[in-house]
């Protein structure tokens, strides 16, 4: 199972002028094994949605619910959510100096599985995942994301997706800033993940480009902190042809 249900989610951030509401009632259900794309202009609240689901401390939930297979994610700590099967690929992955990728991956895998992975098969798995993402095996010895190019950071996120094997992946603009070759590699990573049983994907993107490689079951247009319209893949085609104008104007 991998059902992610978001109901009437309201989120604000603290600003100098007090709390500012960013998500204004988001309702969305990603059924078992489905891939949904969320598309929206910059500043519409896409990252806020992703971070809020994952539990980033900057965001305050003021209303609504988020459940994964019926379990209340919002009452869990950040790491409990990950152990419950949630994965967030970040728009801007964070550098952690002095912590090697190998150590990081092993620690994360151990935390999620509740036991250390078998050393022998694990090293092979890690090398395999790195290779699929076209990352040199020496990456394992480098500090997490430190000195990685933008594209390498995103491919490293996808290697983690493959290795940590969550139930639901929230991918926040994983496609942004990638050249066409990297985009194909990353798309391949997402598709390989989707081929596994019962995996849900929430693909957040600004561009329609990635949807040529990763076919969504549903497309949601996100404007000003809420879903403005939902539809099938044809909605992405309309966005490709006409852009966000119709939706942005409608929301004003």
């Amino acid at each position: 199972m991998s059902k992610l249900e978001i109901k009437d989610l309201r989120v604000s951030v603290d600003t100098e002028d007090g709390a500012k509401e960013i998500l204004k009632g988001v309702t969305l259900t990603i059924g078992d094994g489905e891939t949904h794309a969320i598309m929206g202009p910059n500043g519409s609240g896409k990252s806020t949605l992703a971070y809020s689901i994952a539990g980033h401390p900057k965001y305050t939930i003021t209303g609504g619910t988020v459940t994964l297979d019926g379990d209340d994610l919002l009452s869990m700590t950040v790491d409990e959510r990950a152990r419950a099967g949630l994965f967030l690929a970040m728009q801007y992955p964070v550098e952690v100096p002095g912590v090697s990728v190998a150590n990081f991956l092993r620690t994360a895998k151990t935390a999620i599985d509740g036991e250390a992975p078998k050393l022998r098969t694990w090293v092979k798995e890690v090398n395999g995942a790195m290779e699929k993402m076209n990352l040199d095996p020496t990456f394992s010895q480098r500090s997490v994301n430190e000195g990685f190019s933008g594209g390498e950071k995103k491919r490293h996120e996808m290697a983690q997706l493959a290795l940590l094997d969550p139930k639901v992946a929230v991918l926040d603009e994983t496609d942004s800033g990638l050249d066409i070759d990297a985009l194909k590699i990353v798309s391949e990573g997402i598709n390989t993940f989707r081929e596994r049983e019962n995996k849900g994907v929430l693909l957040i993107t600004h561009y329609t480009r990635i949807l040529r490689y990763v076919k969504p079951d549903r497309v949601h247009v996100f404007v000003d902190g809420r879903v403005a319209e939902s539809g099938g893949p044809e909605l992405a085609e309309e966005l490709e042809a006409n852009g966000y104008d119709r939706f942005v104007r409608a929301s004003v």
Partner: protein, 404 residues
């Protein structure tokens, strides 16, 4: 501005003057009477909690014997306690620049001389263990380490137990020698240690000086380096961890007294618990003769809980324009929430995430220290220090949700 002032000073010195007016280089004296009892207002004492020094800085007798010294030496390296009159003390150029050092000079009856012969090459470290057996009486010690010409060796001084310990420590790295010198302050919680170290780096010689400080109630370690000839290089590395109530002070002074010399200073510390206080003073003086030198100094502090204080004062004075490079960096920061969030979003618990970040903070430094005998111990030390206060660290709440 410092640099302009010192350039002016050097112009006033005249062609033959090698007297330096710099406040970085106080005139030393062997006579205790020349050093007034500090009040705490003096520049060099203003960070130190004098009341906790058990009189080391004033008049406490230094004739205690509440300590043991054990030597573990590889073949070829010699160690002997030599009466002051027969000793080589002063060989490094050490002249006491504060009252504690002058008092130790006066009180010492013997000098422990550790000698690495010329051309010696050894992988196994020579270790001096100073084990304190009580804080009630104050003791004084003088250690002189001499690395003979073209030798390559490692010397570790390992402090443990309880002591009120005042010390002069001299390091002489003769021409072409390579010495790694490590001081590990693993004292018990009640120890008080004030040490003045002075190193002389010979022509084309290399000193790697490492301070590892995590024990003691008060540790004040003063380290100065001068160069006996051109081409010498000094790398000063420090790793420290201050807990609740602990005062750890490292004062460094690199005096570029010869051309084509190098200094590279990296000190990193972590602080946790109420009243943990660290002080890092990084003074570098580039004298007029010291053309073509390179210097870099860096101090980074990671503050793990509320109630800690990290003082960090880099200070660079340049009296010649002909240098290869000079720079410094100083930063004190808290845990980075974004790093913790990233790690936790991968399932790693908050405790484990903090542990990873702290190990990561120290890792490159531990790699630089690169003394195989010590590496495991350093990692364990960081681990042990962290586990002491993990309960403090995990008391935090996040996003209104209490953490497990």
């Amino acid at each position: 501005m410092t640099v302009l002032d010192s350039v002016k000073d050097s112009l006033e010195m005249g062609p033959s003057g090698d007297r330096i007016e710099s406040h970085l280089h106080p005139e030393g004296s062997f006579d205790v009477e020349d050093h007034a009892v500090p009040t705490g207002r003096e520049e060099i004492w203003r960070f130190t909690p004098l009341r906790r020094l058990k009189g080391l800085h004033s008049d406490a007798p230094l004739d205690g014997d509440a300590f043991k010294v054990e030597l573990d030496l590889p073949e070829g390296v010699t160690g002997a306690s030599v009466p002051v009159s027969d000793s080589q003390r002063g060989a490094s150029g050490l002249v006491p620049t504060d009252r504690v050092s002058a008092r130790v000079w006066e009180a010492a009856t013997s000098v422990l001389e550790l000698t690495v012969p010329d051309d010696y090459v050894g992988d196994r470290a020579a270790t001096v263990r100073v084990v304190g057996t009580g804080v009630d009486v104050a003791s004084a010690g003088h250690l002189l380490v001499r690395a003979g010409k073209h030798s390559r060796s490692t010397v570790v001084v390992d402090y443990s137990g309880s002591a009120t310990w005042a010390e002069n420590l001299e390091i002489v790295v003769e021409d072409g020698a390579e010495l790694t010198f490590v001081a590990v302050h693993g004292w018990a919680d009640d120890a008080v240690h004030v040490v003045n170290q002075h190193a002389s780096v010979g022509r084309d010689a290399t000193l790697k000086h490492v301070a590892v400080t995590f024990g003691g109630d008060v540790v004040r370690s003063d380290t100065s380096v001068e160069y006996a000839g051109p081409g010498g290089s000094a790398e000063l590395l420090g790793l420290y961890f201050a807990d609740e109530g602990q005062h750890i002070e490292h004062r460094l002074f690199v005096d570029h007294t010869a051309p084509k010399t190098k200094s590279h200073v990296v000190y990193k510390g972590a602080l946790q618990g109420e009243g943990a206080h660290t002080v890092w003073i990084g003074n570098v003086l580039i004298r007029k003769v010291a053309e073509g030198i390179e210097t870099y100094e860096e101090n980074r502090n990671l503050v793990l809980t509320d109630g800690c204080q990290a003082d960090s004062v880099p200070n660079l004075e340049i009296e010649t324009g002909e240098i290869e490079g000079a720079g410094h960096a100083s930063a004190t920061g808290r845990f980075d929430d974004e790093q913790l969030f990233y790690l936790r979003s991968r399932g790693v618990s908050e405790t484990e995430a903090r542990r990873l970040v702290v190990h990561g903070f120290f890792n490159d430094l531990i790699r630089k220290i690169d003394v195989p005998e010590l590496e495991a111990k350093l990692t364990e030390t960081v681990e042990a220090e962290l586990s002491k206060n993990m309960s403090v660290l995990t008391g935090a709440t996040e996003n209104g949700v209490p953490t497990a």
